[in-house]
């Protein structure tokens, strides 16, 4: 059995009408990150190193909702969070509320390796980042014009919507117009899972969270068992509506179904996404100790890519149109 890797740049209501100038850079980015992961696996990096490396790359790309390009809180600021888990040792690390740290996933790894804790957040996490000497920049570095636009649209929509949780599509005044003029999904996250030829697994996820979120809101991404999980059976990274992923303990459930009901990775992942979470809220990428890959989602689309050692690779956004 060879290695396998899968990564995502977020699941959501990515409309089929996404114009080429918004679609192509993202496809290119997915391809690029996949190549980085493939190269690392071929150079015998551990799955833990690989997922960190790939997620760092995804964080640095402004097209996805993590690191640079993170969506904004209701105050126009960024609060980034991430987690990482090593399936072999079950060690894990998580961070939330970061405002200046360039690579949240790497700080999560440092929490895992250099502290007796698993999860550090907000000021405490920022202090730790400085102690560890990780790269930090002014928060404005992470803010993109696209995200300022997304935030404005979300705030405008809220003037019409009383209930924040209602999908914007329900606003009948704007039936023909997509919720966000730029056509991108407003929810998303990045993540990567990998398994080496010895069956060692690892997972990492990183995000800016939900557009227009309340300051201090934590989603599923840093919650072990919700957005990220890895053990001896599989590694999972989830994306979508954080609140649904937390309630559904999505990442853990995929592994639990495999372990307790003897299901295959694909069966377990499908059940969790299609039967145990509401439609339009979740997507995930997963790999198993046997080298299988699963990338189910119950949203319109999910930016994703995967590859196996035997040469197979795939970059896709929607169900039927594979790009390669």
């Amino acid at each position: 059995m060879g290695w396998a890797i899968a990564l995502h740049g977020g699941a959501g209501d990515i409309p089929y009408s996404l114009p080429p100038e918004r679609r192509q850079p993202r496809e290119e980015a997915l391809r690029h990150c996949l190549q980085i992961g493939i190269k690392a696996l071929n150079s015998k990096f551990t799955p833990l190193d690989v997922v960190e490396l790939v997620v760092r790359e995804l964080e640095n790309i402004p097209h996805f909702n993590a690191g640079r390009g993170s969506v904004l809180t209701n105050k126009g600021t960024v609060e980034m969070e991430a987690s990482i888990m090593d399936g072999k040792t079950m060690k894990c690390g998580a961070v939330s509320g970061l405002t200046t740290v360039v690579n949240a996933v790497s700080l999560a790894r440092l929490v895992m390796e250099n502290t007796p804790h698993i999860y550090l957040a907000f000021d405490g996490a920022e202090d730790f980042a400085r102690q560890q000497g990780v790269e930090t920049v002014d928060s404005s570095h992470f803010i993109t014009p696209e995200n300022i636009e997304r935030l404005n649209q979300a705030k405008d929509a809220n003037r019409v919507q009383i209930d924040y949780t209602q999908p914007i599509q329900n606003d009948t005044k704007n039936e023909t117009e997509p919720p966000f003029a730029n056509g991108d999904s407003q929810i998303g996250t990045v993540g990567c899972v990998a398994v080496d030829s010895n069956g060692n697994l690892a997972s990492a996820t990183s995000t800016g969270g939900l557009v227009n979120k309340m300051v201090g809101r934590i989603g599923d991404t840093p919650v072990i068992g919700a957005g990220t999980y890895a053990n001896e059976f599989c590694a999972v990274s989830a994306t979508g509506k954080g609140e649904a992923i937390i309630r559904g303990t999505v990442a853990r459930d995929v592994a639990a179904l495999m372990e307790f009901k003897g299901l295959s990775l694909k069966e377990a992942a499908n059940i969790v996404v299609q039967e145990r979470t509401p439609k339009g809220t979740v997507g995930l990428v997963a790999v198993s100790a046997a080298g299988e890959i699963a990338m189910p989602y119950n949203t319109t689309g999910m930016f994703r890519a995967c590859a196996t050692e035997d040469g197979y690779s795939e970059v896709a956004i929607w169900p039927d149109t594979k790009i390669e």
Binding site: M90, A121, D127, R217, I218, G225, G242, E243, D253
Partner: protein, 325 residues
């Protein structure tokens, strides 16, 4: 219709040298809280109302490590966290990093019911608390002289220990460190987790769970443990409600609360078997305990460490408050 059941805990991992007076105080508090819960259940309160009510009581009492009486961060401040879950629809709410909110579990409930989110932390959570008009106090209100003393001892113990995971010789010479039982890297005479929690199944068969804590003594500011993490310290679904306590990192890694429900759902185990399985197989070198109820009116608990402050009761009149095995 199912008979109701309730369990409360005040932490897993107890100093074997705990003075009898302290043991008595703890048992009295647990009994009192249990009775409050029982009274509410007899008046047909819902499971989620009862767990909140009981945990509020535990938070307000400085005896255990939550609300008033919370363990202190390395800076000598209090950062409280809590979560609550309503099994019927698996709705949940959680908070972390609270420094002035009198009852973290109630703020967690407000996050669940009055915000579009599931989890709020630090200044954002404090702001929400003010918007919601919940009772707040100065940080000093939560700090007890006992804990100030404990923090000092913890710091002394830690400066001797380079890596808390490596057993060291020498700390036994420190005054007050007679116990050789350790949890979270500290001798248990200095620090026992003492997180609080409550699980309930009401007479409609609805399960709920809530957990609240000040966290780890001498923790880094910003450290979040298992108590506010759904699936780790707290979980409730249609089949059960679970609240955990002990070494936070072990509970997170083992997704302990969710695990009990998962083996019930996916392996068909009954509540006590599920609890035993999880305690036996999911903790490795970690120490923890948990309480749980099922939608069939059962109550169970388990722990792999030295004692757990607990109490449980069922509608048929069974009641027990214990500390040791």
């Amino acid at each position: 219709m199912v008979g109701w059941a309730i369990a409360v805990h005040g932490g897993a991992g107890v100093d074997p040298n705990l003075p009898p007076r302290r043991q008595e105080e703890a048992k009295q508090l647990l009994t009192h809280c249990l009775n409050l819960g029982i009274s509410a259940l007899r008046s047909n309160a819902s499971a989620v109302d009862v767990v909140e009510l009981v945990v509020r009581q535990l938070e307000s009492n400085p005896l255990f490590n939550s609300g008033r009486g919370s363990a202190l961060t390395a800076k000598g401040t209090v950062e409280m966290e809590a979560s609550i879950m309503d099994g019927a629809k698996r709705r949940c709410g959680a908070v972390s990093g609270l420094s002035t909110v009198k009852n973290p579990v109630s703020l967690a409930r407000l996050v669940m019911e009055k915000s579009p989110h599931s989890y709020l932390a630090f200044s954002g959570a404090e702001e929400f608390a003010r918007q919601q008009g919940v009772e707040v106090e100065n940080n000093e209100y939560f700090i007890t002289p006992d804990n100030v003393g404990m923090l000092k001892l913890a710091k002394e113990a830690n400066t001797i220990m380079f890596d808390y995971r490596i057993p060291i010789a020498g700390y036994e010479k420190c005054a007050g460190l007679e116990s050789s039982v350790k949890m979270n890297g500290l001798p248990i005479s200095i620090y026992a987790p003492e997180t609080v929690g409550c699980v309930v199944v009401d007479s409609e068969g609805r399960c709920a769970a809530a957990t609240s804590t000040g966290g780890l003594m001498n923790k880094m500011s910003g450290r979040i443990g298992d108590s506010p993490l759904i699936g780790a310290g707290t979980y409730a679904c249609e089949v059960c409600g679970v609240s955990c306590t002990g070494e936070g990192e072990a509970i997170i890694r083992g997704t302990l609360a969710r695990e009990v429900a998962a083996v019930m759902e996916y392996k068909g185990l009954r509540l006590q078997e599920a609890v035993d399985f999880v305690i036996k197989h999911r903790l490795d070198e970690g120490f923890a305990g948990l309480i749980a109820v099922s939608n069939k009116g059962e109550v169970a608990y388990g722990f792999n460490c030295n004692g757990m402050f607990r109490g449980c009761a069922t509608e048929d009149g069974f009641m027990e408050v214990e500390i040791w095995e």
